[in-house]
């Protein structure tokens, strides 16, 4: 590794050869502003916010894509000329920006707004030019696109491409340029999988999740409704970020307290639903192996992934597990088992799910999910929307005392909690399948081979003489590789876990938005997942089938995994979708 002596703003530093100016500055405590740059996926040097001076260079250079390759390079990041250039750049961006910040969902979390403050811009310096008013796109259940707030940074295009979906891109040119779909179709009319990764990377308010918080507040204010909420495994690991807590803080107790303060009648843990999923999915897997069913079986917890399969690999639908997702299983059980037990008419129950995901907004309305004409879940909100509700209600989140989930769906095992990280569903399933097949209570239950954020992880396990080869992947670009293998008849696996979002739910499309300068230099997925694996270690029950509430629901209600009743309430079907 060759080290170079360089100067930044007159001070001496050493960096590895070919480090970019942006990375070097970050390392030495200088934030160079960026708007378009996303590490590894959008390194296009287009927004020109990161312009820096390299002594001897013909013009200013884009720090994000300029590798330092000469000994003695002298870099300046904060000269009067650079400040003026960056300020002008921002003023030009504002010339056709919808500047209604007060009513913008990204007010206070907008990267453009923040830079404008830092550079003291004159928002009216340039007027005219592009005076097109773009129509807002409200055609999907999961997000709203408002191109009047778009700065054409193309981060969303890169995120969509990374998901192997690529339904959005830059159309037209010059002042007419806009990000949109082919032939100006609305997002609801193209094969978008609803993952919401575009909303997480958007620096402004051009792409935001559909805000369903008003519906929740309305239900809470309705005395005739019994409002139940349940929170997905990964929310406890990320919600704290919305209240400036360190990334990877487990806020389970505070989250439950806040939900109770908001007025929910019952606060349940979706980890219970995750455990239920493992009981059903583990049983389905064993049956497929023993009865010569379609293999490899692929997990079906992630609605973005399921939709991707239905659009782009419909021939592989028989490989999908028929199990509903934990969200849907939980909702179904609230409106049947819980309602019966409490003597409440399920029609009076409003089930709200808090999810790391915006595709869940789509999933609750899928066909073949609810029963008796009711949806399993009525409203699905993201981590971000929950944070917004807590703030609106004036709840001082960081100061809350911990509280516990409510019975009869209060317990989630460690296996349920790790669902939120890539590899978690596989590990949870292996913990249960191994015990079932060996008839023992195995102590070695850490399956480290399937943990971590590698693109594709694989391992072979010997379970009671049966060799099970598994693969785990997240991010649809990676999933496509495994799917192509299956299509070609070359897949050697029996069981595959696919999560739509890279890193799994901890990095879902509904999770807290971290600005570029944090995203690019922080292992978000790793830190958030770590909180879940620590949670797993701290729990009394670490296997789904050990969860006493799970035992109770099978004893009292569902009989056994895969029973007729379980199939009716907890399993579903899929459809081929036309591209």
């Amino acid at each position: 590794m060759e080290m170079l002596n360089i100067k930044i703003n007159g001070r001496d530093y050493q960096v590895e050869k070919n480090t970019t100016i942006l990375e070097a500055c970050h390392k030495f405590g200088i934030k160079v502003p960026t708007l378009c740059y996303l590490k590894d996926i959008n390194e296009i040097g287009a927004c020109r916010m990161c312009l820096c001076e390299v002594k001897g260079a013909r013009s200013l250079v884009a720090a994000c894509v300029y590798p330092i390759d000469r000994e003695g390079t002298e870099i300046f990041t904060n000269t009067p000329q650079i400040r003026e250039y960056r300020k002008t750049n921002l003023e030009l961006l504002l010339s056709n920006h919808d500047k209604k910040c007060l009513s913008c969902p990204r007010n206070n979390s907008c990267e453009l707004q923040k830079l404008c403050l830092e550079y003291g811009v004159n928002e009216k310096r340039f007027v005219g030019g592009a005076d097109i008013i773009h129509k807002e796109d409200h055609s999907t259940l999961h997000l709203v696109r408002n191109n009047n707030k778009c700065i054409l940074c193309r981060r969303c295009v890169a995120a969509c491409k990374e998901q192997y979906v690529s339904v959005i891109g830059a159309n037209n040119r010059g002042f007419d340029s806009e990000i949109g779909c082919a032939f100006d179709a609305e997002l609801g009319d193209v094969p978008c999988v609803s993952c919401g990764q575009c909303t997480v990377v958007c620096p402004t308010g051009a792409l935001v999740e559909r805000d369903d918080t008003a519906k929740v507040f309305e239900a809470l204010a309705d005395p005739t409704k019994h409002v139940v909420v349940h929170t997905a495994p990964s929310i406890r690991a990320t919600l704290g970020e919305c209240f400036d807590m360190p990334i990877g803080t487990n806020v389970k107790g505070k989250m439950v307290a806040a939900l109770k303060m908001l007025g929910f009648d019952k606060v349940f843990d979706t980890n219970f639903g995750a455990d239920l999923t493992i009981m059903e999915e583990g049983t389905e897997f064993i049956q497929r192996v023993q009865n010569g069913g379609v293999l490899p079986m692929i997990t079906s917890c992630s609605p973005g992934w399921v939709k991707f399969c239905e659009y782009y690999y419909p021939d592989l639908i028989p490989h999908l597990s028929t199990c509903k997702s934990p969200q849907q299983m939980q909702g179904a059980m609230v409106k049947s088992y819980y309602a019966e037990k409490e003597g409440i008419d399920p029609k009076d129950i409003v089930v709200v799910s808090v999810m790391p995901c915006v595709a869940k907004k789509f999933e609750i309305k899928r066909d073949d999910q609810g029963h008796d004409g009711m949806q399993d879940n009525d409203i699905s909100i993201s981590t971000r929307e929950l944070a917004k509700m807590i703030k609106t209600a004036g709840i001082q989140f960081t100061e809350l005392e911990d509280e516990d989930f409510d019975p009869i769906m209060s317990i989630g095992s460690g296996a349920g909690t790790i669902f939120g990280a890539t590899g978690g569903v596989m590990e949870a399933a292996l913990r249960t399948v191994s015990d079932v097949l060996t008839g023992e209570d195995l102590k070695q239950i850490d399956y480290n081979e399937v943990r971590g954020t590698d693109a594709i992880k694989e391992a072979t396990y010997d379970i009671n003489g049966m060799k099970v080869k598994v693969a785990v992947t997240s991010g649809l670009k990676n999933a496509a590789k495994l799917l192509d293998e299956i299509r070609a008849g070359k897949s050697e696996y029996q069981f595959i876990e696919v999560m739509c979002c890279p890193g799994g739910c901890v990095n879902g499309g509904g999770q807290p938005i971290q600005p570029g300068h944090v995203r690019n230099f922080t292992d978000l997925k790793g830190l958030r997942a770590k909180a879940l694996y620590e949670d797993d270690l701290s729990l009394e029950y670490r296997k789904s089938h050990d969860n006493p509430e799970i035992k109770a629901i099978y004893d009292e209600y569902l009989e056994k995994p895969g029973s007729h009743k379980a199939h009716e309430l907890l399993h579903t079907s899929y459809v081929k979708r036309e591209i």
């Binding site: 979906v165 037209n172 032939f183 100006d184």
Partner: protein, 165 residues
Amino acid sequence: MQKKISSIPFAGTPEQEAKLKEVIAKRSDDPGAVMPVLQEAQEIYGYLPIEVQKMVAEGLNVPLEEVYGVSTFYSQFALSPKGKYNISVCLGTACYVKGSGDILNELSEQLGIGAEECTPDGKFSLTACRCIGACGLAPVITVNDDVYGRLTVDDVEGILKKYQD
């Protein structure tokens, strides 16, 4: 200018499709094939409607949006067919100074279509072009191969009347 998407029904022939497939097959391994294939597709069909762009996207295994992005970025690509009579209005400097912008507007109003569009009956299409080298006759328009120069807005109606067949 934002490209207008034609609403005229697609009327591609099997021969045209076979020709396009041949073009695509020749370049299916070329990562930079979108632009040259679109050029040849436009030669075959005269324009690039969604049906053609879908064939290109599928054939080259690139997203339709990428193909559409390229087709709307370059002014040489047309999303509307050319009419039986294609009217080009020169917007080069000399013609523009002499009022060709007004002539384009008048044509647009009388035909009920914007630039780069085609009338629903397929008869007239309107193109805004750059200098055609007849600055001495500014402002100039061409209708297929006929050239009309030193025009005023009042001449437009009479010119259109000549192409009523």
